[in-house]
C-alpha cells in the first residue's frame, strides 16, 4: 500500500505531486486526529456501573471553530490548485512554439499523426504511427486529441496527464517530458469490449534522435507520394504500408479520412 506517487517525468508533474503531498499531509493529520479521538472517546466514555452521560447539547463556539477552520483550509487548497490546473489545462496559456501532433482514438487503438513536410495536418504528406507516439524531450508537445467513435481517455501516468478524447471535439492538451524513455499510454475511460487492451507507448527521444527519425519519416512519405503522383492517384491506399518508422512498436498505418475536424 503505497501513498507515494511514482516519480513524474513532465514539467508540471512536480506541481501536481506537490499539491498531492500537501493534501496528503493535511488529510493525514485530520485522519489520525479524528480517528484517534474517536477511539479514545469510545474507550474513555465506555459505560461503567453507575455512570451517567453529561447532558450537553452542543457549543456554538465549537461549531464556529470547526466550520471556519476546515473552510479556510479547503479554500486555501483550492487557491493553491487553481493556478496549476490553469497552467496544465487552459489552452490560452499553453506554451508557445510547441511541437504539434494529432492523436486520434478509436476502438481500440491510438493513431498519432505528424504534419509531415508541409507542417500542415490533414494533407497528403502526413504520416502516422499506431499505438505509439514519438516526441522529443525538453520540448512542449501540443496534442490535438480526437476520437472517432466513443469517448476514450488519454492517460499517461508518468506525465500526470489525462484527458478524455470526445467524438466531435478536438481537445488541445500539452506536456513537456523532462526525461527520455518509453512511457505507457493507457485508456482511462470505459470504451467497450477492448478497453483494457487499448494501450500504447509514448517514446520520449533525445532531440537529435527525434529529428533524425522525423526526417526519415518525412522523406519516406515524400518518396511514396512521388511514386503515387505518377499514377495520378493520391488515394488512401497509396500510403498503405509505405511508411515504416523502423521502430519496433511503431508500425505505420494507412491514411485515414477525418470528417469532423
Amino acid at each position: 500500500m503505497d501513498w507515494l506517487l511514482d516519480p513524474s517525468v513532465s514539467t508540471f508533474g512536480p506541481d501536481i505531486d506537490r499539491i498531492y503531498y500537501i493534501i496528503l499531509v493535511i488529510t493525514g493529520a485530520v485522519f489520525f486526529g479524528t480517528e484517534l479521538l474517536l477511539v479514545y472517546f469510545l474507550f474513555r466514555y465506555r459505560h461503567r456501573e453507575g455512570q451517567r452521560a453529561e447532558y450537553i447539547h452542543g457549543s456554538t463556539k465549537a461549531e464556529v471553530i470547526w466550520t471556519a477552520v476546515p473552510f479556510v483550509i479547503v479554500v486555501v487548497l483550492a487557491f493553491m490548485s487553481a493556478p496549476v490546473w490553469n497552467r496544465i489545462k487552459n489552452p490560452e496559456v499553453f506554451p508557445a512554439d510547441s511541437y504539434e501532433v494529432m492523436l486520434t482514438a478509436r476502438q481500440f487503438e491510438w493513431e498519432t499523426r505528424y504534419a509531415g513536410a508541409d507542417g500542415q495536418f490533414e494533407t497528403a504528406d502526413d504520416f502516422t504511427l499506431l499505438n505509439r507516439m514519438n516526441v522529443p524531450v525538453d520540448r512542449p508537445i501540443l496534442i490535438h486529441l480526437a476520437s472517432e467513435d466513443v469517448i476514450h481517455s488519454f492517460f499517461v501516468y508518468d506525465f500526470r496527464l489525462k484527458q478524455d478524447a470526445v467524438p466531435g471535439m478536438v481537445i488541445p492538451i500539452w506536456f513537456e517530458a523532462i526525461q527520455t524513455g518509453e512511457y505507457t499510454l493507457g485508456c482511462a475511460e470505459l470504451c467497450g469490449t477492448g478497453h483494457s487492451t487499448m494501450d500504447g507507448i509514448v517514446a520520449v527521444q533525445p532531440q537529435a534522435e527525434f529529428e533524425a527519425w522525423e526526417a526519415t519519416q518525412v522523406a519516406a512519405r515524400q518518396a511514396v507520394l512521388g511514386g503515387v503522383l505518377a499514377s495520378l492517384d493520391i488515394g488512401a491506399e497509396a500510403g498503405n504500408g509505405a511508411v515504416t518508422s523502423g521502430l519496433a512498436e511503431g508500425a505505420a498505418t494507412p491514411m485515414h479520412e477525418h470528417g469532423d475536424f
Binding site: M1, W3, D6, I16, I19, L24, T27, V30, F31, T34, L38, F41, L42, Y45, R46, H47, Q51, R52, A53, Y55, I56, H57, G58, S59, A62, W66, T67, F71, V74, L77, A78, S81, A82, V84, W85, N86, I88, N90, P91, I151, F155, Y157, R160, K162, Q163, D164, V166, G168, M169, I171, T184, G186, C187, A188, L190, G192, T193, H195, S196, D199
Partner: protein, 593 residues
C-alpha cells in the same frame, strides 16, 4: 376519538385505536397500503438486490485477482463465461450491473424506500403516510423495474455494458458494445424506478409537512426525519432530470434522434451534464438518510443528546443545496471548458465543510457520553470512522490538478466504496438492527450481530483501503484485465489480496442474512422500547399495529433528551407528559419496563 390537531388528513388515516376493517391476505401482505408493510416489502426486495450486486462483485474480483482463470464454479452460459472464463463483454456488463443494482436497487431503496416508509409515519406520530395508495403504487413500480433490469442479463447481447453512468455515445448504439436490447431495458427499468422514487418523495414530503403529531415542531424532529425530508426534496428534483436524459438516450437508440450522437450534430457531453446534474444530488440521496440514522443511533448508544442538533440540520441543508452546483467535478477530464472545472473545484471543495461539521458533531456526541456498545451503535461508529476516509479522499479529487492522475482510477473506486459501503451500507446495517423490533417485534441476535460487524469491518477495510494505493499507482477503473498493462503488473499481488478480502467480506454477509431471517421467528421479544430511546416510535408496540398508535400521540420535547439531570431514567420519551418523568418520585410513563 378526539382530534387535537386541525389537520384534516388525520380524519382519513385512522389510528390503531379506531375502527379498522379486517383485511384480506392480499390487501394485508401484497397490495398493502400500510407503510410498515411497504417498508418490509422494500426491505426484502432491496436485500435480495444487495445480495445479487455483491455476487456480481465477487465474480468481478475473481477476474481481477485471477485474470483468465476459469471460475471455480462453471455455471454461467457460453455468452458470459465459456469454460468458466469471463468474457470482456460480460465483464463490462458485470461492472455496469453491479453499480446499477447497488446504487438504484439496493442502497437507494434501502435508505429511502425502507427507512423512509418505516420511520416517517412512526417518528412523526402519524397513522400512515399521507397518500397510502400512492405509497403502494411506488413499491409496485419498483418491482417491474427490478425484473426488467434482471431480465436484461438474459436477452441477446446481454445486459448493459457502458457503466452505471452509461456515457454516450458508447451507450447510444449497440455497434459500440454489442449490447442492444440490454441497454434499452436498462433505460426503461431506471425510468420506472425513477418514477417510483418520485411518487415516494411526494408522499414523504407531504406526510412530514402535514401529519406531524401535535407538539412535534420542526426542531423537535429526529434527524432521521430531517434527513429523509431533505432527501425526498432532492429525489423530487433530481429524478426528473435523470428521466429526461434516459428518454433522450432511449430515443437516440430507437427513434433515430441524435441528442448525443456527434456525427449527426449531437453532443456527448450533454449526457454527462444531465447525468451528473442528477448524479451528484443522487450521491447525497445515498448518504443523507444514512447520516440521519447514524445521528440517531450514536446519541442512543452514548446516552447523550446529539451534539449541535441545529448545526446538524443546517449541515444537511447545506449539503443538499451545494449538491446542485458541484456536478461538474465528475467531468474535470471530460473536455468541458477548463475554467468551468476551476469553478466546480471551489464549490466541490466547500462541500467538505458541512461534511466535516457532521463528523465533529458525532465526535462531540460521544464526548462525555456513557457508551453502550450495541450492534447498531458499532455499525454507526464504523460509519463515522469510514466516512472520514471517504470525505478526505474527496478532497484529493476535488483539487482539479490532483484529480488529473487519479480520475477514473481505483482511487475513485476506493472513494465510492468508502462513502457508499463504509458509509451508507454500515448505516443500513445499523438501522436494520436498531429498528428491527418495529419491523418484526423481535431483536436480532447481538452476538451474531457483533461477529458479523467485526468480520465485515476488517474484511471491508482490507478490501477497499489498498484500492487507494493501486489507484495512486495508476490502475484504471473498469479494467477487464489489469495485467495487460506492463506497468500495472507489479500491482497484481494487491489485486489478489483485495480479491481474497472481498471473498471473506462476502462470506460474512451470510451471517447477517441468517441472523436477519432467523430472528424474525427466533429473536427475543423486543417490547416497545428495547434501546431505551426517546423518539415517538418507541412509544408504540413492537411491531406497531395497523394505524401505529392507540390514539394520536402528543409531543412535549425533542428526540434526544438523554441523561437529563434529575430524571429518573437516562431517557425520556417525546410523548411523556412533562411532569411525569423529571421528578424522581413520579411514575415514569415510559413503556420500557
Amino acid at each position: 376519538m378526539s382530534h387535537v390537531a386541525t389537520k384534516t388528513d388525520y380524519d382519513l388515516l385512522p389510528f390503531a385505536g379506531e375502527h379498522h376493517e379486517e383485511l384480506s391476505f392480499v390487501r394485508k401482505y401484497i397490495f398493502s397500503t400500510d407503510h410498515k408493510t411497504i417498508g418490509k416489502q422494500f426491505l426484502f426486495m432491496s436485500l435480495l438486490f444487495l445480495l445479487l450486486g455483491g455476487t456480481l462483485a465477487t465474480v468481478m474480483r475473481w477476474q481481477l485477482g485471477f485474470p483468465g482463470t476459469p471460475l471455480p464454479v462453471d455455471i454461467l452460459p457460453e455468452t458470459m463465461a465459456p469454460g468458466g472464463i469471463i468474457l470482456p463483454e460480460f465483464y463490462n456488463s458485470l461492472v455496469t450491473m453491479h453499480g446499477t443494482f447497488m446504487i438504484f436497487f439496493a442502497i437507494m431503496p434501502l435508505l429511502v424506500g425502507v427507512f423512509g416508509n418505516l420511520l416517517i409515519p412512526l417518528q412523526i406520530g402519524a397513522a400512515d403516510m399521507a397518500f397510502p395508495k400512492l405509497n403502494m403504487f411506488s413499491f409496485w413500480l419498483a418491482v417491474p423495474a427490478g425484473f426488467i433490469m434482471l431480465a436484461s442479463f438474459f436477452v441477446e447481447g446481454g445486459a448493459a455494458g457502458a457503466g452505471w453512468t452509461s456515457y454516450a455515445p458508447l451507450s447510444t448504439s449497440g455497434e459500440f458494445t454489442g449490447v442492444y436490447l440490454g441497454q434499452q431495458l436498462w433505460l426503461i427499468s431506471l425510468f420506472l424506478l425513477g418514477f417510483s422514487s418520485i411518487t415516494g418523495a411526494v408522499n414523504y414530503i407531504t406526510t412530514i409537512i402535514n401529519l406531524r403529531a401535535p407538539g412535534l415542531t420542526w426542531f423537535r424532529l429526529p434527524l432521521t426525519v430531517w434527513a429523509l425530508f431533505i432527501t425526498a426534496i432532492l429525489v423530487l428534483l433530481a429524478m426528473p432530470i435523470l428521466a429526461g436524459g434516459l428518454i433522450m438516450l432511449l430515443t437516440d437508440q430507437t427513434l433515430g434522434t441524435t441528442f448525443f450522437k456527434p456525427e449527426l450534430g449531437g453532443e456527448p457531453l450533454l449526457w454527462q451534464h444531465l447525468f451528473w446534474y442528477f448524479g451528484h444530488p443522487e450521491v447525497y440521496i445515498l448518504i443523507l438518510p444514512a447520516m440521519g440514522i447514524v445521528s440517531e443511533v450514536i446519541a442512543n448508544g452514548a446516552r447523550k443528546p446529539v451534539f449541535g442538533y441545529h448545526s446538524m440540520v443546517f449541515a444537511i441543508a447545506a449539503i443538499a443545496l451545494l449538491s446542485w452546483i458541484v456536478w461538474g467535478h465528475h467531468m474535470f477530464m471530460s473536455g468541458m471548458n477548463p475554467r468551468l472545472g476551476m469553478t466546480f473545484m471551489f464549490t466541490t471543495i466547500v462541500i467538505a465543510v458541512p461534511s466535516a461539521i457532521k463528523v465533529f458533531n458525532w465526535l462531540g456526541t460521544l464526548w462525555k457520553g456513557n457508551i453502550h456498545f450495541t450492534t447498531p451503535f458499532l455499525h454507526s461508529v464504523a460509519f463515522v470512522a469510514l466516512f472520514i476516509i471517504g470525505g478526505l479522499s474527496g478532497v484529493f479529487m476535488a483539487s482539479t490538478p490532483v484529480d488529473i492522475p487519479i480520475h477514473d482510477t481505483y482511487f475513485i473506486v476506493a472513494h465510492i466504496h468508502y462513502v457508499l459501503f463504509g458509509g451508507s451500507l454500515f448505516a443500513i446495517f445499523s438501522g436494520i438492527t436498531y429498528w428491527y423490533p418495529k419491523l418484526f417485534g423481535t431483536l436480532m441476535n447481538e452476538t451474531w450481530g457483533k461477529i458479523h460487524f467485526i468480520g465485515t469491518f476488517i474484511a471491508y477495510n482490507l478490501a477497499f483501503f489498498p484500492m487507494h494505493g493501486i489507484g495512486l499507482q495508476g490502475m484504471m477503473r473498469r479494467l477487464y484485465d489489469p495485467t495487460l498493462y506492463a506497468y500495472l503488473q507489479p500491482l497484481q499481488p494487491w489485486n489478489v489480496f483485495i480479491s481474497y478480502s472481498v471473498f471473506v467480506l462476502f462470506a460474512f454477509q451470510f451471517i447477517f442474512a441468517a441472523n436477519f431471517l432467523l430472528s424474525i421467528w427466533k429473536g427475543k421479544k423486543a417490547g416497545p422500547n428495547p434501546w431505551r430511546a426517546n423518539s415517538i416510535e418507541w412509544s408504540a408496540p413492537s411491531p406497531p399495529p395497523h394505524g401505529n398508535f392507540e390514539r394520536m400521540p402528543v409531543v412535549y420535547r425533542g428526540p434526544y433528551e438523554y441523561s437529563v439531570p434529575g430524571a429518573r431514567e437516562d431517557f425520556i420519551l417525546q410523548t411523556d407528559p412533562p411532569d411525569s418523568s423529571v421528578a424522581p418520585h413520579h411514575t415514569s410513563a415510559s413503556t420500557s419496563h
